[in-house]
């Protein structure tokens, strides 16, 4: 019961306390306007390059944008506590660490899915890209799965934040890797072979492929394998991130580096 309370109530309180995103003056520019313009930017770049249709960029960038809250928020979870000088008291509590940290991931995942939907709908309207009504529900599932896996990936970055003060630089690098490698703006078969191979082990790649197939008319059952692969990759990153978090927590206690990182 306590673990459930830590998971749900603790997650919600941390979301309200640690992120400025609840302020509309921050939420709207950061998580609505900027993502929509990212899609437009790459759609226009794609038109100039004569590479793919607008729909390719709308789906690709909207799904990749799910990584934005997932990656950054999980990092802020640690760095925000340190900035508020509550990291040490937090880690001194006997709360179950899985409930503590995974609970923080839950509202972030919902946020990621919301931002993804807003950028998909906003940019589709501006670029006159349409999706058949029958694809909307399966697309929503693909978005939810991708948001979840990106948040799992973000947990890895959050863990690094326990040891590295400027983990935000690493998070930017991870975000950039997803943008370049996952077939967001360039089809995987047009990237170098080794890049396509690396993409198979990254979040977004399979969820994005599933979303594009759904938009082309595939049913949810047809892309179940891709969505399961996306979930498995996200879960694997979450597991590694959680293990790293526990290890670095122990090391920080042992070396007394919790506040000095």
């Amino acid at each position: 019961m306590t673990n459930l309370r830590v998971f749900f109530v603790g997650g919600l309180i941390s979301y309200r306390a640690l992120f400025n995103w609840l302020n509309p003056w921050i939420f709207f520019p950061t998580l609505v306007i900027a993502p929509i313009f990212q899609v437009l930017f790459f759609a226009f770049l794609g038109r100039a390059a004569g590479l793919e249709s607008d729909r390719f960029y709308v789906i690709g960038n909207a799904l990749q944008i799910a990584a934005l809250p997932g990656l950054f928020a999980m990092s802020f979870t640690i760095s925000g506590e340190r900035y508020s000088q509550t990291l040490a008291p937090l880690l001194a509590t006997p709360a179950n660490r899985a409930a503590l940290f995974l609970g923080r991931a839950l509202p972030v995942t919902a946020n990621a899915a919301f931002v993804c939907v807003v950028s998909l709908v906003g940019s589709a309207l501006l670029l006159h890209v349409t999706f058949p009504a029958s694809t909307l529900l399966p697309l929503a599932v693909a978005i939810a799965v991708t948001s979840l896996s990106c948040t799992g990936f973000g947990l890895l970055g959050g863990a690094v934040g326990l040891r590295v003060r400027e983990s935000i630089v690493l998070i930017n690098l991870l975000d950039a890797v997803l943008l370049v490698f996952c077939g967001v703006n360039v089809p995987l078969d047009k990237l170098a072979e080794w890049m396509s191979q690396v993409a198979q082990g990254l979040p977004v790649t399979h969820g994005l492929e599933a979303a594009r197939r759904i938009a082309d008319g595939a049913r949810l059952g047809d892309v179940a394998g891709l969505l399961l692969a996306e979930l498995a990759i996200g879960a694997a990153y979450a597991a590694v991130g959680y293990a790293l978090l526990r290890y670095l927590e122990r090391e920080s206690r042992r070396l007394g580096t919790l506040e000095t990182a």
Binding site: N20, N23, W25, I26, F28, P29, T30, I33, A34, F37, Q38, L40, F41, F42, F44, L45, G46, R47, A48, A49, G50, L51, E166, I168, V169, N172, L173, A176, L179, V180, N185, V186, P187, K190, L191
Partner: protein
């Protein structure tokens, strides 16, 4: 003379500060390289390999604008956090003379983005930098940086009353990249957007760098860049005096 000294010392001090920021340099150099890489892949895959230098220079100018849009608009708020805003406003020089070099120094960190993008393009993709007008290029770089910095200064004055100024500035990053045609020609944009691009320094800075490298009339572009910087400075100075007066009268400088 004193104003010139404040401008010079202020620029040097803040350029040193930003040059030692792992976040500013790490992120500021990473994204232009990433954007250049994306553009290289897209243009190559689309069969337009001749536009790679365009992508390289465009990513660098986009990086300079990112510094101006995000860090310059957050400069006043940062001084609030540091508790130095009141001291700077109370200094016996106009506040604009204090803030202007901060804005230009932040945009000057874009020189790292420019250098990194050109070196990356050369080493990884073998993109040469043919300098048809080397002198013009040497002049275009600082003029472009300064004009974009001054644009950031004017923007920061418009957003001075907002605590979330840098977040609002952040949302202007992509729109300016788009409308100024930094990574693709503005011909792909709707016609109504062109007049907007004409009043934005990144458009002319990009053209100045491109024409200096590939041939054309870079001096005209440099002159327009300089002229726009003067207009932005005039707007920014007019606004800063107005806002500072209002903040003193209402005791709202700290926005608390």
């Amino acid at each position: 003379m004193r104003a010139l000294r404040v401008l010079g010392v202020g620029w040097l001090l803040h350029f040193k500060i930003i040059s030692r920021s792992p976040f500013a340099i790490g992120v500021g150099v990473t994204w232009p390289i990433v954007n250049a890489t994306m553009a290289y892949f897209m243009y190559r895959a689309g069969g337009h390999a001749q536009t790679l230098l365009y992508a390289s220079l465009g990513s660098a100018v986009a990086g300079i604008w990112s510094y101006a849009a995000i860090d310059v608009t957050g400069a006043v708020q940062r001084q609030r956090w540091w508790g130095t805003l009141e001291l700077l406003v109370g200094a016996p020089v106009p506040f604009a003379v204090v803030l202007l070099p901060i804005a230009i120094a932040i945009a000057s960190a874009g020189i790292y983005a420019l250098g990194a993008t050109l070196v990356f393009g050369r080493l990884v993709y073998g993109i040469p930098l043919p300098l048809e007008h080397p002198l013009a290029f040497a002049v275009a770089v600082p003029v472009t940086i300064a004009s974009i910095g001054v644009l950031g200064f004017a923007l920061s004055m418009v957003l001075m009353r907002f605590r979330a100024a840098s977040h609002i500035g952040n949302s202007l990053e992509y729109p300016v990249w788009i409308v100024c045609g930094l990574l693709f020609p503005i011909a792909v944009l709707p016609v109504w957007s062109r007049p907007i691009s004409w009043v934005l320094a990144p458009t002319w800075g990009m053209r100045a760098l491109l024409h200096s490298a590939l041939g054309g009339h870079p001096w005209r572009d440099i002159a327009v860049c300089g002229g726009l910087a003067a207009v932005y400075a005039a707007i920014g100075i007019a606004l800063v005096e107005r806002f500072i007066d209002a903040a003193r009268r209402r005791a709202t400088l700290s926005l608390t």
